[in-house]
Structures are given as structure tokens and as C-alpha cells.
């Protein structure tokens, strides 16, 4: 797998136009095959930066380049396509659909990416088994623990074998064992060539990354 080489120049963001900036003049480079950790105090814009890098949010100013292509100016449909095909995202609160089974939740990433149903179910089961929640495949999210839910979210993020994986405090609410499973999976994806960016408050986790981005 070849990850995405991400270059960011002079990035600025404010939630309200003309309002206080979350960050301003940010320059950074994130390389494939490595785990970059993103740290900083609450409100420093870690999650916001992840959303901008993952093409879910547009910056006020600045340039974001993926493998030499400026992506900040792409249209919504093209950005959605890149998100569906090349991005995996592990949200802080797992963000599962409570009305659907664990397996269907994992398959959601494949639906938006255009992965045929048979393939996404097979790959989904494979991932759930790998991360120890295969026996919960037909359960609803309300019937599993927080640690299991986060592993399910990880499975969803990995379903399409994305080139870049973002984690927003992916181990924040987990017991040590579950945190180790999630972190191990992200490390393995980077070792396999993917670009991995993880926002975290955990100093130990931040130190375990290959590159460290600190927001003030």
C-alpha cells in the first residue's frame, strides 16, 4: 500500500468568518508509512485539524496538498469521493448507527465507497474477527461495550484499506487492553504503508508515534 503524502502550508481556520482563529499560519508535512501524533490542549484545534486534513471541513485559508494535488479547492463531490475511497476515520465517540447491526455499521464505509455488498460483508466479518468482536456482528451498538464500539469503528475505518487513516482520540475512552488493540492496528496500517494521523491527549501514545505535531 502507498499512503498519502500530505503537505500543509499557511493553514488557518475560524468557526465564524472573521472570528477568533482556532489556528493560523500552520505549516506541516505528514509522510506515508508513518504514524503522526497530534497533541495540544483542549480547544487547540486537534479535531478541527483532523477534519480539515480528512477533507470533511474547509479551511479559511491555506493550502493542502495530497501527493502533489491541491485538495482544498476541489469540489464537494470530488472531496467526498476521496473521503470514501482513500480516507479511514476513527471518531472519538465511535459514531455508530444505533439502529443497525455492528456488521452493517462496518459495511457503511463500503457503501459510500461503492464496495459490493458481498465484499463488504466478507471483509467486515474478517475485520471484526481480527479485532475480537466477530461474535458481536449481529448485535446493535447499544448492546456492546464502549471498547467494543471503538473496535467496530476501527473496523469501519479499515474496511476499504484506506491510504490515510485519521484517529480522533481513538483510545481516549478505552481500557488499556482495548487501547492497545486499536493502537496496534493503526501502527500495523502505517507499517503496511498507510499514512496515519492520531490526535491524542495521552503523552505515552504521543511519544509512541513516529512524528509529532504539537498545537499550541
Amino acid at each position: 500500500m502507498t499512503g498519502v503524502h500530505i503537505e500543509v502550508t499557511d493553514l488557518a481556520f475560524a468557526y465564524r468568518r472573521g472570528g477568533e482563529t482556532v489556528f493560523d499560519g500552520l505549516d506541516l508535512e505528514i509522510r506515508p508509512g508513518r504514524v503522526a501524533t497530534l497533541t495540544g490542549p483542549s480547544g487547540s484545534g486537534k479535531s478541527t485539524l483532523l477534519y480539515i486534513l480528512a477533507l470533511m471541513l474547509r479551511a479559511e485559508r491555506g493550502r493542502i496538498v495530497w501527493d502533489g494535488t491541491a485538495v482544498e479547492t476541489l469540489g464537494d463531490a470530488r472531496r467526498a469521493q476521496l473521503r470514501a475511497r482513500d480516507v479511514g476515520f476513527v471518531f472519538q465517540d465511535a459514531l455508530l448507527d444505533p439502529a443497525r447491526t455492528v456488521l452493517d455499521n462496518v459495511g457503511d464505509a463500503g457503501v459510500t465507497a461503492g464496495l459490493p455488498r458481498r465484499d463488504r460483508l466478507a471483509r467486515g466479518r474478517e475485520l471484526l474477527d481480527r479485532f475480537g468482536v466477530g461474535h458481536r456482528a449481529e448485535h446493535r451498538p447499544g448492546e456492546i461495550s464502549g471498547g467494543q464500539a471503538q473496535r467496530v469503528a476501527l473496523c469501519r475505518a479499515l474496511l476499504t484499506r484506506p491510504r490515510v487513516i485519521f484517529g480522533d482520540e481513538p483510545t481516549g475512552n478505552l481500557d488499556p487492553a482495548s487501547a492497545q488493540v486499536v493502537w496496534g492496528a493503526l501502527r500495523a496500517a502505517a507499517d503496511d504503508g498507510a499514512t496515519v494521523v492520531v490526535a491524542t491527549h495521552d503523552p505515552a501514545l504521543a511519544a509512541a508515534g513516529d512524528d509529532r505535531i504539537v498545537l499550541a
Binding site: M56, A80, F89, A113, G114, L115, P162
Partner: protein, 388 residues
């Protein structure tokens, strides 16, 4: 690039959108049932109100049409116009014409077997095939030189009452008639003429001999539909095959046509107004219901957008879900409406009308769902997801 991502289109497959939409409709039971119920009621109301008007309009117009709104008659009052009998066959070939017959001048005929006591009736030579409204009751259609007798004329010739009408029929189909000049005409059948040719019931029709030059006095032409009547009248006025077309008059049932137009306009207008109001109200209800549904599911749509769903995919998802509820509601409402109409009135509006109402309500449901669907698609996923 990895093996999976290489083959991924990065956008949902149409089949998956339909599948997800249907799953969403099932998952959002309350919203789906509400929308289906609203549309079922709309279909029901439209069918039992407008459908009743449509059925009445259909019935009244059918009666109006049957009494001659499509019949154009050319009359040679003076007997000097010289309408060419061979023109009748050519008229029948016209696309606007359902049938055409020419009738010669009337002359009296009597029965040969009861000559002394028999009353005379009028006989007319007929040019062209007997049209559909002239139905043979007994015997067969006449060949050239043979006659068929109208139902009333048969009674007159037989001198019997209406209750014994079978007897003269049997007698006359084997009998003969004679004209004042002693020419005999074999009778081969008795007919009944329906509107608009019912006056022929009192007449004997004699099929013209080949090459017989019949002085056509009446030329009856039935247009295929009401819209073609004026066009046909224009053709008969300007291009009639006759020695002196100016000596003829062309009778068009303008009064009947105007009455038809008034009936269709009044009944139709009332029905259309009712339908328009009901459809507009239902569109607003569908829009509000769908808006409520998508608002309740804002986190789901935010999650889908974050995972890479395009705005158009979100719109399609909402419309599939709304469409699924609408189909259920429309089918249920249409069935209920038609059954009610059948039980209450014993009649149904045409299949085209029912299908049209169902299609229109379905369209209204989809149109009413478009604004909420677009609103759902335009929401910023991150602003949704960051709200706990």
C-alpha cells in the same frame, strides 16, 4: 495503491442507495407510516371526490356522444345536389371517419302476402356497408337488391303489437315487399337501429345494386371523436363529391357539442380544483413529515457525509425512502378509493384516471421530499457531528 482502493469507484452504487433507502424506511417506522398514511388518505380523497366527478363526467359524456355529438349529416333538401354515391366509400377511408352511409329518397313499400291490408312504410336505398348502430335482430345483412326492415317498420308492416314482434320478424325474413311500381324486393332480415341512427327503425333499407346510380339525399358520417367533427364538417362543406355541393346543407350538432363542452368544463373544473387543493396540502404535509424525519436523522446523514457520501447520494437516499413510503400509501389509498367508489356508486373512473391520480400523488410525494432532502445534503457534516 492497494488492491481494494484500486477498484473502488468512491461513490455508492445505485443498488446500495435503494437498499439503504428501503432499510431507512423500515428503520424510521413512525415517519414512514405517517407519510404512507397521509398519501393513502390523499389518494383516497382524490379518488372519491374527483374520481366520482370523473366517473360522472365520463358517463354523461358517453351519453352525449351516443346521441350524436359526432354525427355529421349532409342533406340534399331539393334533390338537385347530385351527391355521388361512390364518394361514400371514399369518405369511409378518411382517418377522421368511423363510418359513412348514404340514403336515397324515400318511397313507399307494402307487403306482398297481405297486400290489401298492409300499411305502407318508407324504404330507402342505402349506399355503403350498414354501420355498427344498425344491428341485425334476425335474418342477415342484405346483399345488393335485398332489404332489411327496421324494428318499428316491421311492426307496421305486420300490423301486430310490439309484444308480438317476433312474429313479423320471422314472417318478414322469408317474405317480400313490393313497391308501387310492382318491383318486388326480397326481405332478408329485421334490424334495430341505435342512436344516432334510431330513426331508421321506421324504415326499410334496401342495399343498392352494383352500378346503381342512387340519388343520395342524406349522407350520415360519424367522426371518430368529437375533436374531428368540425374538421369533418369543413371537408364535407368544401370537398363534397356532388354535382352541385351548394345545394346541400351540412348539419353539425353544434348545440350538443357546446353542451358537451360545458359539461366537460364544469365537471372537470370542479374536480381539478378539488384535486389541486388536496395535492398542495398533501405536498406541504409530506414536506413537513420528511423534514421532521431528516432532522431526527441529522447525525446519520452527518456520519454518512463524513464517510464520503456525496450530497446527491444523500438526496437520493431521502427520496428513495420517501418514495418507498409513498408507493405503499398510494397503492393502499388507490385500492381503498376504488373499492369505496365501486361500493357506493357501482362505477369506477377510467383506468387512466386512476393511474394518473396515483402517479400524480407519487410525484407530489417526491417533490415534497426534495426540499428536506436537499436541506439534509447541504448540512455541514462536521457541524452536525460536533454537536453532542
Amino acid at each position: 495503491m492497494n488492491a481494494v482502493a484500486d477498484v473502488l469507484p468512491g461513490s455508492p452504487r445505485a443498488r446500495d442507495i435503494v437498499d439503504e433507502g428501503l432499510r431507512g424506511a423500515v428503520a424510521q417506522r413512525a415517519a414512514s407510516v405517517t407519510a404512507a398514511l397521509v398519501l393513502a388518505i390523499v389518494c383516497f380523497v382524490v379518488l372519491v371526490t374527483t374520481g366520482q366527478s370523473a366517473a360522472s363526467e365520463q358517463r354523461v359524456l358517453a351519453r352525449v356522444d351516443s346521441v350524436g355529438s359526432r354525427l355529421v349529416t349532409v342533406v340534399d333538401d331539393s334533390g338537385t345536389a347530385g351527391i355521388h354515391p361512390e364518394g361514400v366509400a371514399r369518405l369511409e377511408q378518411m382517418s377522421d371517419v368511423e363510418w359513412a352511409i348514404g340514403l336515397g329518397p324515400a318511397r313507399d313499400v307494402l307487403r306482398t302476402d297481405v297486400f290489401a291490408d298492409s300499411s305502407g312504410v318508407a324504404a330507402r336505398t342505402v349506399v355503403g356497408e350498414l354501420p355498427a348502430p344498425v344491428r341485425i335482430l334476425s335474418g342477415r345483412a342484405p346483399r345488393p337488391g335485398e332489404a332489411v326492415v327496421g324494428r318499428v317498420a316491421a311492426r307496421t308492416l305486420g300490423g301486430v303489437t310490439a309484444s308480438a314482434s317476433v312474429a313479423p320478424s320471422e314472417l318478414l325474413t322469408t317474405g317480400q315487399l313490393v313497391e308501387h311500381d310492382a318491383r318486388t324486393i326480397p326481405v332478408v332480415g329485421v334490424f334495430e337501429a341505435e342512436a344516432p341512427l334510431d330513426p331508421l327503425d321506421e324504415v326499410v333499407l334496401v342495399a343498392a345494386e352494383p352500378h346503381e346510380v342512387v340519388p343520395v339525399r342524406f349522407l350520415h358520417v360519424l367522426a371518430r371523436d368529437v375533436a374531428g367533427v368540425e374538421r369533418l364538417a369543413q371537408v364535407l362543406t368544401t370537398s363534397l363529391e356532388a354535382d352541385d355541393p351548394t345545394a346541400t346543407t351540412v348539419d353539425v350538432p353544434r348545440g350538443v357539442l357546446e353542451l358537451r363542452s360545458v359539461i366537460a368544463g364544469d365537471l372537470g373544473r370542479a374536480g381539478r380544483s378539488t384535486m389541486l387543493v388536496v395535492l398542495l396540502v398533501s405536498m406541504a404535509i409530506v414536506a413537513v413529515t420528511t423534514l421532521g424525519s431528516v432532522t431526527a436523522r441529522r447525525r446519520e446523514f452527518g456520519r454518512r457525509r463524513a464517510l464520503g457520501a456525496t450530497r446527491s447520494a444523500i438526496v437520493a437516499l431521502v427520496l428513495v425512502q420517501a418514495g418507498a413510503s409513498a408507493v405503499v400509501g398510494v397503492v393502499a389509498g388507490t385500492c381503498a378509493g376504488l373499492v369505496t367508489l365501486h361500493l357506493a356508486l357501482g362505477e369506477l373512473p377510467g383506468a387512466g384516471f386512476s393511474a394518473g391520480v396515483a402517479g400524480l400523488v407519487l410525484l407530489v410525494a417526491l417533490l415534497g421530499s426534495v426540499p428536506p432532502a436537499v436541506a439534509a445534503a447541504l448540512r455541514d457534516p462536521m457541524r452536525i457531528l460536533r454537536v453532542p
